[in-house]
């Protein structure tokens, strides 16, 4: 299966993009929720090995395939590890048909003009070369909008597209994620500003460049349809940003051509003590639920 197959799969938008990872910050907690308490490991290295074992079990589960899970967003730690004896990104695509993405951002700057821009990423090119060599298809980077401030939104979109060009130059597809906080009072106004600013940048993109977009579920149904139909856009991915699963699914169903992308790990309800059959069934249920919500739109 080739690079073009990956593009076609993402463009068809029949499934969702999963977050497979656990940030370093809560690994112990995630393991505890998974039924592995702190006595089971005596060092950080062992802890990360155990969390990786959990991930391996997830990706090797029968239902974790490209039929429903279009893509998986990995942190750098996972990209450098292996599943089933293969580099993780290659295993995901070649064995499971799941398109691998890499989260490349290194945190956010302080809020200014109602936005939080990305912190500088000085060694991004080296990381991108390594990722491309390991079979990663695309990247993801998130910055946050806290208000309908035209100056701030102009800056945040410009930064996303500027770094996006750097990523495209290394042969990867960037997911540009200017998240709009769902708690702001002028969310609808901020969304209109964001859409128009993104359209301006998309129109200026060269014909051989393509991006993906990850945006908060909008107040107005199909607000971003012009983005998902744009020639320079491979796919538009929706983030829930704190909406409950029910509300996120309801909003998702009002927006056509939008893939669900849950930053929530797929580990809900999974446990180390479960038998393989129980584990696979629980995971299958979770995947199916998110998949149905994603293709409803």
């Amino acid at each position: 299966m080739s690079y073009q197959d990956q593009r076609d799969l993402i463009h068809a938008s029949q499934g969702f993009v999963a977050a497979l990872d656990q940030s370093g910050g809560s690994t112990a907690k995630a393991l505890a929720a998974y039924g592995v308490d702190s006595e089971a490991f005596s060092s950080d290295a062992e802890m990360f090995d155990m969390i990786h074992a959990m991930r391996s079990r997830i990706v090797q589960s029968p239902d974790f395939t490209g039929a429903k899970v279009l893509g998986a967003i990995l942190f750098e730690d996972t990209m450098d590890r292996e599943f089933g004896g293969q580099p993780a990104p290659q295993y995901l695509w070649q064995q499971r048909g799941v398109v691998p993405f890499l989260k490349v951002d290194k945190g956010l700057q302080d809020t200014a003009e109602d936005v939080q821009l990305l912190k500088p990423m000085p060694d991004l090119d080296a990381l991108l070369r390594r990722a491309a060599a390991l079979g990663v298809f695309g990247t993801k980077m998130r910055s946050v909008i806290h208000g309908a401030n035209p100056t701030g939104i102009t800056k945040i979109v410009a930064q996303q597209f500027e770094i996006g060009a750097q990523i495209i130059a290394q042969g990867l597809i960037p997911i540009l994620e200017p998240e709009i906080s769902i708690t702001i009072s002028n969310k609808a106004e901020a969304e209109n500003l964001l859409r128009d600013t993104i359209l301006t940048h998309l129109d200026a993109l060269p014909a051989d460049q393509t991006v993906m977009l990850k945006v908060t579920l909008p107040e107005t149904a199909n607000l971003y349809s012009r983005l998902s139909q744009h020639q320079r856009v491979l796919s538009v991915v929706a983030l829930s940003g704190g909406y409950s699963r029910a509300e996120a699914n309801a909003r998702l169903s009002q927006n056509s051509k939008m893939i669900a992308s849950f930053s929530r790990a797929l580990t809900e309800g999974l446990s180390a003590q479960q038998s393989d059959a129980e584990f696979d069934q629980t995971l299958a249920q979770t995947i199916d639920e998110i998949y149905r919500a994603s293709i409803v739109g």
Binding site: S26, E76, D77, K106, G107, E179, G242, S263, R264
Partner: protein, 99 residues
Amino acid sequence: MRQRSIPPIGPLAVTFVSLTLAFYFLFSAIQGDYGILRRAAYQAEADGLQRQLSTLQSSISQLENKTLRLSDHYLDLDLLDQQARDVLGFIRPDEIAIQ
């Protein structure tokens, strides 16, 4: 015999008292505890408190949002990564922190 004219004390008194009362009420209406100026001050104070309330409500809803997204049953990994960096000062093994 011509009657000596007695000054109309009654009406004068009534007029004086009326004028005094009118002036008093006018003064109270403007300067008094319930007057226009005090009302304007109260209104300004109310507006300020209203702004403060909506600011507090906004930050409460932001905190509630973050709390939800960092809970076991929700756990937004992007936000977790951001908070781990901002609040705990975490960085990845291959990163360098420049203060």
